[in-house]
Symmetry: C2
Subunit: 487 residues, 2 copies
C-alpha cells in the first residue's frame, strides 16, 4: 500500500516543470496537476476496466444530481437525512456494492432494533417471575405493560424508543450536548444488553446481525464484543468462554448457510471506566483468550466515551503486560474520538500508535496531530472511520467537514464502518458508504474509490495474508458479478 514515495516524486516532477511560468498557466500543466491531485485520493490509481469506467460515469452522473439537491443529505443530520438517502438512486447502487469487511461494529448494536423487539418480546412470557438481574430494572408482567398501552404496535414502538437514540424530533433539541447524548446512548446500550444477553436471544441476535450485513453485501466482520455474561431465565449464567464459543458456532452455522460469507472475528473490549486492577486482570484474560482462540479472537480494545474516561497512558503498565510477557495481543484502540484538542485524552492517538495498535477506531482528531498522522501513514495503521457515528455524537455537523474528506483526498490508510448502526437507526455499511462517497468524496471520488475502500477493508483486517488473499479472491468474484449486473 505504500505508494507515497512514488506519489511525491510525481508531484515534484510536475511542479518543477511548471513553477516560475510567467504568462498564462499552461492548460496542459494545469490538467496534469489536476490529474495528479485526483490520483492521490483513495482509489485514485485504481485501473478500471471499460465496464467499470461505464459504471463509474453513471455514478458520477447520479452524484451530480445528488449534489444539486436543496437538501443535500451529507450536510444534514443523519436522523433527518436517512429517508432522503434511502430513496436516492445512488444509495440503491451502494447497497449492491460488495463492500468487503465491517471492521468497526459493536456487539449490541449490530442488529436492527425492529428485529430485536419482535424477537425478544417472547421472553416476557415466563411461567413464573424470573430472578432479578443485577444491572436491570425489575421484571414487569407483559399484561401490566399492555394495560398501559393502547396496542401492541404502540408497545413495540415505546420499547424501541428505549433501545435506540434515533428520534424524529430535532436532534439538536433532543440532544443539546455531547453529555446528554452519551448518557442516553449508554442507557440505550444497557437496555439492549438486558435483552440480548438472554441466551436464546443472544444466538439469534448475532445470527440476524450477520444476516443484515450479508444482505448489505458485507462479507466479513470484526466485532468488538464485551463478552458479557449471558443468562437463562432460571437465573443461571454462562461465562465469556461460552459467549465466545457461541460466536464461533453461530459464525460457522452462518457461513455454512451462506457460502459467500467469509466469516467473523471478535475484538474483546472492556469499558475504559475500570480501574488499574481490573484492567490488569482483563488484559491477562485477553491474552489467554487470544491464545486459546487464535483464529477467533483478533485482539483487544477499550470502549466508552473517551472524553471523561481514563486515557490510554493511564493504563500504560497494564497495556504493556503482553509485551512484558512476550505474548501476542494485538490492539485495536478507539482513539481521537474527541474535539478536546490538547487535552490528556487527546493524547490517545499518539499513545495508541506507540502501543503498536493494529488499527485506530475513529481517529477523528488525527489531522490535528501531524506526528501521529505521519506514524499512522508510514506504518499503515488504518483508521476505522465511522461518519454517521461521529455526526450523531456531535463531533461534526456537516459531514463534508469530517476529517475523512481530507484523509480520503490523501489516500490515508482507512476503512469505512458504522460503529453502532442499530443505535443510530442505520444498518449495515451502506449509509456510511453513502456519506463517505457522496459527502467526503464530493464529485471527485469514483468507482475506483469504492473498490479501494472494499480492498482496504480486507487488507487492513486482522486476517493473515493468506486468509486475506482468499477473502480478496472471493470478493473479486462478487465484484465482477456486481459490475456485470449493473452495466
Amino acid at each position: 500500500m505504500d505508494m507515497s514515495a512514488k506519489r511525491h516524486l510525481v508531484l515534484v516532477l510536475v511542479l518543477s516543470c511548471l513553477w516560475g511560468a510567467l504568462s498564462m498557466p499552461d492548460p496542459k500543466h494545469r490538467e496534469d496537476l489536476m490529474k495528479t491531485e485526483a490520483s492521490m485520493q483513495t482509489g485514485g490509481r485504481m485501473v478500471l476496466s471499460e465496464k467499470e469506467q461505464q459504471l463509474s460515469s453513471r455514478l458520477l452522473q447520479m452524484k451530480s444530481e445528488e449534489v444539486m439537491r436543496v437538501d443535500f443529505p451529507p450536510s444534514m443530520h443523519f436522523f433527518r437525512a436517512r429517508d432522503l438517502i434511502k430513496e436516492s438512486p445512488i444509495f440503491s447502487l451502494l447497497q449492491k456494492v460488495p463492500k468487503g469487511a465491517a471492521l468497526h461494529l459493536h456487539d449490541f448494536s449490530m442488529t436492527s432494533v425492529e428485529w430485536l423487539v419482535k424477537n425478544s418480546i417472547r421472553f416476557f412470557f415466563s411461567s413464573q417471575i424470573p430472578k432479578p438481574l443485577p444491572q436491570c430494572s425489575p421484571w414487569v408482567l407483559l399484561e401490566k405493560l399492555r394495560a398501559l398501552t393502547v396496542n401492541v404496535t404502540a408497545l413495540d414502538d415505546s420499547i424501541m424508543k428505549n433501545l435506540t437514540i434515533f428520534t424524529d424530533l430535532d436532534p439538536d433539541v433532543a440532544y443539546p450536548s455531547q453529555d446528554v447524548l452519551w448518557n442516553r446512548f449508554e442507557e440505550a446500550f444497557r437496555a439492549v444488553s438486558g435483552l440480548v444477553t438472554y441466551a436464546p436471544v443472544f444466538r439469534d441476535y448475532y445470527y440476524q446481525g450477520l444476516q443484515e450485513l450479508y444482505a448489505d453485501n458485507v462479507m466479513y466482520l470484526e466485532l468488538r464484543a464485551m463478552l458479557s455474561e449471558v443468562y437463562e431465565l432460571d437465573g443461571s449464567t454462562h461465562d465469556m468462554i461460552w459467549t465466545l464459543k457461541t460466536y464461533q458456532e453461530v459464525t460457522r452455522q452462518f457461513t455454512a448457510d451462506h457460502p459467500e460469507f467469509f466469516g467473523a472475528r471478535v475484538i474483546y473490549t472492556i469499558h475504559r471506566g475500570v480501574n488499574s486492577t481490573v484492567m490488569a486482570q482483563v488484559v491477562q484474560k485477553a491474552m489467554q483468550l487470544k491464545k486459546t482462540f487464535p483464529d477467533l479472537v483478533a485482539g483487544f480494545d477499550l470502549v466508552g466515551r473517551e472524553d471523561p474516561g481514563r486515557p490510554l497512558w493511564y493504563f500504560r503498565n497494564e497495556l504493556s503486560l503482553p509485551s512484558d510477557k512476550g505474548l501476542q495481543l494485538p490492539f485495536f484502540f478507539h482513539a481521537g474520538e474527541t474535539n478536546l484538542e490538547g487535552s490528556e485524552v487527546d493524547q490517545n492517538l499518539l499513545d495508541a500508535l506507540l502501543f503498536n495498535t493494529t488499527r485506530i477506531g475513529h481517529g477523528f482528531a488525527l489531522l490535528r496531530h501531524p506526528v501521529a498522522k505521519e506514524l499512522s501513514r508510514k506504518n499503515g495503521v488504518a483508521l476505522e472511520i465511522c461518519p454517521i457515528s461521529n455526526q450523531v455524537t456531535k463531533l461534526v455537523d456537516d459531514l463534508r467537514n469530517h476529517p475523512g474528506a481530507v484523509l480520503m483526498a490523501e489516500d490515508h490508510p482507512l476503512v469505512i464502518s458504522s460503529d453502532d448502526p442499530a443505535m443510530f437507526g442505520s444498518s449495515g455499511l451502506s449509509y456510511d458508504f453513502y456519506e463517505a462517497f457522496v459527502g467526503f468524496g464530493g464529485l471527485r471520488s469514483n468507482l475506483g474509490t469504492l473498490k479501494a475502500l472494499a480492498i482496504n477493508s480486507i487488507r487492513y483486517s486482522s486476517l493473515s495474508t493468506q486468509q486475506q488473499d482468499k477473502a480478496l479472491a472471493m470478493w473479486q468474484k462478487r465484484w465482477n458479478k456486481f459490475i456485470i449486473e449493473n452495466t
Copy 2:
C-alpha cells in the same frame, strides 16, 4: 519562513530511534514526540522570554477554564457566542495583544454599523429631494420614516437591521441555507454602500474604520475595495481616482494623528459576476492604478460568492493580461470558499496558485486539495483565514472543525482576519483571534502562537521587505510594552 525541511528531519530522527520498541513505550520518547508535534504548530518554535512564558501560562490557565464551560463559544454560532466571548477574560487580553496587520477586510463592512447609522443619518436632512441613484431605492423623507416608527432608537434599530446580517433569532432559522444567507448578505452590502458612497460619509467611515482597528491593536491594513463611484447630494459623482486618493489622504491623516499606526493599502476588487469584456477593462484599469499608485495599490482580486460565480479559469485570458504585457499586478484571490468538492469552482484554489497569487482569501477547501496545499506551503502563499465569516456563511458550524485548526497544527503559512466584521456584528480582529486561539488551537496554542500570527501578518503583507522590517520593529515595541503591562 521555510523551516519545513528542518522539521521533517527532526521528525524522522525522533521516529527512527523509537519505532520497533517492543515493551512499554519509553516515556522519554513519548515526551519527545509530543514536543515535536507541539513545535510543529504555528509559533511552536518561538523562543519566549521569561516574562512571556509567565503570560503564556496565564493564558493557558484562562483557556483551561474556557474549555470547561458548558457553552463553549467556538462550538457555537458566533451570533450566539458573541456576548459570551465579549465577557471572557481571555478575550479582554486578546484585545490588548498587538495583532499586527488586518490583511482581509472589505471596504463597506470594516466600520461598525452603530457608528454608520448615527453618522450617516444626517444625510437624510437635505433641502430638496436628492437625485435618485441608479443602484438605490428612492429617497424617502425622514419624517415619513419617523411617522412609521415609534422613536428614534427604534428607527435606528430598524435601519441597522438592514445593514448587517446579525440577528438575535436562531441563525439557522433566519438563514436556513447558504443561498438565503448570501442573498441577505449582498442586500445588506448594497444598503451599506448606498450610505457609505456619499462623499462626506465616505471619508469619515474610513477614518472610523481605521480607528476601530487601531483600538483593537491592529497597526496596518490591506483593504479590499471596489473603488465605487462616490456621490454628492447634487447628483455629481467622483471617480475611482478620487476614491483612491481619498483613501490615501485619510490614511495619511490617520497615521499623523496616530503615529503608532503603520498605514494602509488597497486591493482593488471587482465582482466576479462581470463578463469577460468588463473583466478585461477592469484588469487594464487595475494595472494602471498599480502603476500610478505603486505604494497605495497592493493588487487585485475578485469578490462575490464563489459557488454560483464564474471560476477564475473562465477569466484566464483577462487575468493573463498583466504578464502578457510585462506589467506587475499582484493578485490576492479569494479561493476555496466553498464546500462543493470537485466542482469547477473548487478548482479556484489551484488556479489562484497557478496565477501566482500573493495570498489566498479563505482557502477553506485547501485541505481537500493536497497538490494546492503543497504549492501554497512550498511557495509561502499564505491563507487569509476568517473563521467567523466561514461560520456565518454556513461552511462550518463548530469552529473546532474549521480547517484552520489543522493548518495551524502544521504551521501552514496563514494569517487570521475578519472579512466583513461589521456585517457579522463583530469588529476588529479580536473576535476572530479568539476563535483561532481558543477554537483552533485548543489547549495547545500559546503566546508563541499569537506572536507568530502577528509576525505572519506583517511578513505576508504586500509591503516591501524594508517596509516590513520597519513595521516589525514598530510592532516589537508595542509587543514588549504589552508583555510588561500584562505580567
